[in-house]
């Protein structure tokens, strides 16, 4: 378990797929979801899911949602059967989720995150976040992405979506995009809070679809899909 954390995969190296995940972290993640995450979401949060049947049986696909809480990633990952967890990687800011070795170990083991560099000045050709995401998708991973880029400080608001999500659509032909709307997570565990209040939370999942057009059109289309689920 104490294996050395691999560095960011250089572009030249071919990304390995979901089946390459080591047995130990995969087992720990499944155990964690079975014994901690699922009971927590069912008995404490009372999570309700609508549209689960819209999740594709096979990856790769993009799961895109609004973002207001740490509960978001947990709830979206918990939508999948334990055996599929290793196929799903939440895209996460390296500056936050890899801020020290402990956090990095936990987020990689229990959430199988795909850490990306968020600040433009830190991006090098080796750690380009867009390339890292495309490589992961091409290797067979499905990604969970919050295109707002960060948790919104007001749970009712959906922030402007960044263009990275369109880059993925443009560079992975035929990539299905599933929009999800997460309700009340930002009330339960808002930014800055560490103890959740058990408001009932909902996940609404829309149908998988593909997007085409110019970059702004794709971004707008995906953003509209999330907003439509909210009933805007």
């Amino acid at each position: 378990v104490t294996q050395k954390q691999p560095d960011e995969a250089p572009l030249s190296r071919r990304e390995k797929g979901p089946s390459s995940r080591s047995v130990a972290p995969d087992f720990l993640q499944r155990l964690f979801f079975l014994l901690v995450v699922r009971p927590f979401l069912t008995l404490f949060i009372g999570l309700k899911v609508r549209g689960r049947e819209n999740l594709p049986e096979r990856g790769p696909f993009l799961l895109v949602a609004n973002h207001s809480s740490h509960l978001d990633t947990v709830s979206l990952l918990a939508l999948f059967p334990l055996g599929r967890l290793k196929e799903i990687r939440p895209v996460a800011a390296a500056d936050y989720f890899e801020r020290n070795l402990t956090v990095s170990f936990l987020t990689r083991t229990f959430f199988n995150i795909l850490p990306i560099v968020r600040k433009r000045e830190d991006v090098t050709p080796e750690n380009d976040p867009r390339q890292a995401m495309v490589a992961a998708l091409k290797a067979g991973f499905s990604l969970i992405i919050f295109p707002e880029g960060t948790r919104s400080s007001s749970p009712e608001e959906i922030g402007r979506f960044k263009s990275g999500v369109a880059y993925l659509v443009e560079n992975v032909p035929g990539l299905p995009v599933v929009a999800a709307y997460l309700e009340n997570m930002g009330r339960s565990l808002p930014k800055g809070a560490w103890i959740p209040v058990p408001f009932f939370c909902n996940v609404l999942i829309g149908p998988a679809r593909t997007y085409a057009g110019t970059t702004p059109e794709i971004v707008a289309g995906i953003q509209a899909a999330v907003r439509d689920l909210r009933g805007d």
């Binding site: 009372g46 009340n184 808002p190 009932f200």
Partner: protein
């Protein structure tokens, strides 16, 4: 067969009675379905199935012992509080106070567990009443302060303080006229059965004879015919359960009227809460019934009233 029934302990006798009633209800429903099938019976099927599950859980917890029933009641308070706060219009500044309010649930039930009546009875009305506004003040937002402090405290009073009386009731040792002791657990069965029975009977009487509405703006389904019919028939039925109580015949009837009327007002108050929030049900936990609170509404009122009646006159 009668002999075997007489030999049962009060708990198992009650289990047999409830099982019998539910079997009868299920049989009637099956008959109705044969005679005239329709959407009307689908709703009743869901309700009846939920009654089986709720009764099963309740008796299982009672049989499993004090810890299981304590856990069940604490969970019911927790879920009711969840349903309530989700519908509230909360501010971001309320987060810490809400965490405190939920933390009060295990603490309140801990007083029950260690049988510390004095603390049980003042913890939420006094200490939480003082502590919640302090926590809200520390969040430094005055706009909406009074609304937040009031709403959260009201929820704690109704769904934690009020419902926890059911749990504490099972710890009482009630004294009858000849000094005969009555177990608090059987009194709890009496309370829950009479209040829930009255709820069902009010529905039945209201559906069949209901004409004159009691509080049309709050709850259009509650009629005088349903109320009076339900209260009287449930109170008459309660006479069959006198073996659970230390009461005389007349007193049993009087207490049953008291708690069924209290239960009616509990239901009406929770209806007003739902109206205010603009929802039909508090949740969807119990198919055919709605949320936890849609089932516990009457008990939020009846439990404290019954508890203090028993404690004042019989201990």
């Amino acid at each position: 067969m009668i002999g075997a029934y007489e030999g049962l302990s009060p708990l198992w006798r009650m289990c047999a009675i409830v099982g019998g009633i539910l079997t009868l209800a299920t049989a009637i429903l099956a008959f109705l379905q044969l005679v005239r099938p329709g959407a009307y019976t689908a709703e009743l099927w869901a309700r009846t199935r939920s009654w089986w599950i709720m009764a099963g859980l309740f008796f299982a917890a009672a049989v499993a012992g004090p810890w299981m029933s304590l856990a069940l009641f604490a969970f019911m308070s927790f879920w009711a509080m969840k349903e309530y706060v989700t519908l509230l219009k909360t501010r971001a500044a309320d987060h810490a106070a809400l965490v405190l309010a939920f933390a009060a649930i295990p603490i309140q039930y801990a007083w029950v567990a260690i049988d510390w009546y004095g603390m049980f009875i003042i913890f939420i009305p006094v200490y939480m009443f003082l502590a919640l506004p302090i926590r809200l003040v520390l969040s430094k937002q005055t706009e909406g302060f009074v609304a937040s402090a009031s709403q959260i405290q009201w929820g704690l009073m109704a769904f934690v303080f009020g419902l926890s009386h059911m749990s504490y009731l099972s710890r009482l040792r009630a004294m009858g006229p000849e000094g005969a002791l009555s177990d608090g657990r059987t009194l709890l069965l009496f309370l829950v059965f009479v209040v829930e029975m009255s709820d069902v009977l009010q529905y039945v009487w209201g559906k069949t004879l209901g004409r004159h509405k009691v509080v049309p703006t709050v709850s259009p389904n509650k009629t005088w015919e349903g109320l009076i019919g339900g209260v009287l028939s449930a109170s008459l039925a309660s006479l069959l359960l006198r073996f659970l109580t230390p009461f005389s015949v007349l007193e049993t009837f009087g207490v049953a009227v008291l708690i069924t009327v209290a239960g009616f007002f509990g239901g009406t108050v929770m209806s007003a809460v739902k109206r205010d929030f603009g929802v039909k049900d508090f949740g969807s936990l119990i198919p055919g019934h709605g949320g936890m609170l849609d089932r516990l509404d009457g008990l939020c009122y009846a439990a404290p009233v019954f508890f203090h009646y028993v404690r004042y006159f019989h201990t």
